[in-house]
Symmetry: C2
Subunit: 376 residues, 2 copies
């Protein structure tokens, strides 16, 4: 039985769901000949680790207790040292994480799993990579900071997995990696990688007003609490950057063309949320409506896409053919079209739910299992 020690950073929605998946997959993974040994979990403030990380793990009852605590928005600080775990906080926690990475990275190996959404993990990830640890990311930040950080992360590319950074559990990164390693030449990648913006664009196509659709999406919980976090395009831009770098482009967020669906004077620093929803948004309706009509006259529809080809890496509204996978997209599904030497006339299309804690955590878990050959 292969044993994969795991240290999990971030036990919010995705991390918590990952712990639940790990516990519920015990017998399935035993059949696959793999045992996932969770040696530590941390949130933004605290770290719990097994008393002896070389031989022990956090037991399933404790992991379920962690899930319970996190689902009631409680912090790991409520856990105390016990025979079941040691606890660390603040700088001590960071130091201990690096210690665990050093000890296990050099001996049995460690899968360092980042399910946080924090920039603070970039430095830690970089440290544990040095120790030979494997890294599994749902967090986009470590892959979208400087090229220097990125190069370090991917230097041992087999030790890194990050399916859930783009399209949640959709097999986008795995599929692109396969194409690349088979020597296929990728000409163009275009996709809708925001469920929220996909929903908004397909609803306005049906004749609804942009402002109404955004307000409805917010009420339905489809958007971030401040919808400008979606409409600004930064989240899609990070995904586009991850894909572009995977395709070998050496660029940063700063080099990318990122179209925001609201103008700077409606930004969060300038306009209060309520004013934006009531007054700002309706001012954008006419512009969107006109673009839809122009697209329609060309037989096209509008989608908020990420587009990467030889010369471009950008995110924003584009006209796409009504009859393409992108053009036919409805609801909140993600879709990616890949044009390459092998998929020249018709693209390789991957489509499905691109968000949700369950799906995102499933992508992380598949990544971990896929690392098994690197463990003794």
């Amino acid at each position: 039985m292969k044993k994969i020690p795991i240290l999990l950073m971030g036990c919010g929605g995705v991390g918590r769901q990952l712990l639940l998946h790990i516990v519920s997959c015990r017998s399935l993974h035993a059949k696959l000949g793999v045992r996932l040994r969770v040696v530590g979990v941390c949130d933004s403030k605290s770290l719990l680790v097994a008393p002896d990380i070389s031989t022990e793990e956090l037991g399933d009852p404790l992991l379920l207790e962690v899930c319970q605590a996190k689902s009631s928005a409680s912090s790991l600080q409520t856990f105390n040292d016990s025979g079941l775990c040691q606890t660390f906080t603040s700088a001590d926690a960071t130091r201990k994480i690096v210690d665990v990475g050093g000890l296990l990275g050099r001996s049995t190996g460690l899968a360092f799993v980042d399910c946080s959404a924090s920039s603070n993990t970039v430095g830690i990830v970089s440290r544990v990579v040095d120790f030979g640890c494997c890294v599994v990311l749902a967090n986009k930040k470590p892959l979208t900071s400087s090229m220097e950080d990125y190069d370090k992360l991917v230097a041992r590319s087999r030790h890194l997995r990050h399916e859930s950074t783009v399209g949640a559990g959709l097999p986008i990164i795995a599929s692109l990696t396969r194409l690349i390693s088979s020597g296929d030449t990728i000409y163009r990648v275009i996709g809708s990688l925001s469920g929220t913006l996909g929903y908004v664009m397909s609803e306005v196509e049906n004749g609804k007003l942009f402002s109404e659709v955004v307000n409805a999406a917010k009420s339905l919980g489809y958007t971030e609490p401040d919808p400008r976090d979606d409409l600004g395009g930064m989240d899609v831009a990070r995904k586009a950057l991850i894909l572009a770098r995977l395709l070998g482009r050496r660029i940063n967020l700063d080099n990318m063309k990122i179209e925001s669906l609201y103008p700077p004077y409606m930004g969060p620093d300038v306009m209060a949320l309520e004013e934006f929803l009531k007054t700002g948004l309706p001012m954008l309706d006419k512009g969107i409506q006109e673009r839809i009509e122009t697209a329609s006259a060309n037989g096209n529809v509008l989608r908020y896409v990420c587009l990467i080809d030889d010369t471009r890496c950008e995110v924003g509204i584009q006209e796409v053919p009504k009859n393409s996978a992108l053009g036919r997209l409805r609801g909140s599904d993600n879709v990616l079209e890949i044009y390459s030497r092998c998929y020249k006339e018709q693209p390789l299309v991957i489509q499905g739910a691109g968000a949700g804690n369950d799906t995102t955590a499933a992508g992380v878990l598949a990544d971990i299992i896929d690392l098994q050959d690197l463990f003794p």
Copy 2:
């Protein structure tokens, strides 16, 4: 630099293309830290192996010569023993293949790659698995014979890859494997996995006669020389069986419902090809036409699908919603819809070219590279 020794069975269209890919990807693979060492290639009659398989490989000039010979429909029998390779024929070839598997399987490891379409390799594959060799298949036969053979092949599942047995290079097997290992529950898989039948069904939907479409497809080279090889559904059935077994179903081809698009009295043993094309096919037009009309009245279209769920594993014509990925399929693309716990309302969809030597060989090559962690 990791070295992956390869023994290739079958150097027809796919195998030949694989050799070309391997040679042209040398610098790409060097960047990935991998060197593919082709120690042997064989066709149905002969085997060429490196003089000393432990230290030597077949050089790229020789591999290109092999490709040249096979593209002019010449056999490997035309190659002679030389300082560059040893040659073996018939039973000697089989014995030598098993020897190579034994020697390398127990030392450096060997990727045994089956790009033939032969049933004869089933026994050999089974032998080399015993030696600890990795197995990469484009050939469906070893996966679709008895459950006993299958169980043996998948006993060390990490050592087996077979992406190109279903949908050519489309990432279908890799994606299903990820879903399974993440504990996702797969409820239903439905897809169009024959470019030929996909083309035929979408053309008849456009109002053309079945007989005309099949004759046109034959002229365009879309079908096998005898289109009944496509219309009988056996090739799709093998793909369905591979998917069903991957999902844990313990069944054989014999247990499957396989719909043939022609009746037994028009079979190849009963009716000559020419008569089938001229007289047989037109007799089928009315039946297909009626089914299309019934489907259309239900708001559906007809597709020749493979369908696997809790109770069924079958291939044949089914009504599918016009607005689904399957219903919108045009031309010769393959498409697979996967319904699971994570992809419940809307399926995970994978679509694209599902045939062609280039794409199929690319899938095999990606499989080989993905085995790298199992090699020293």
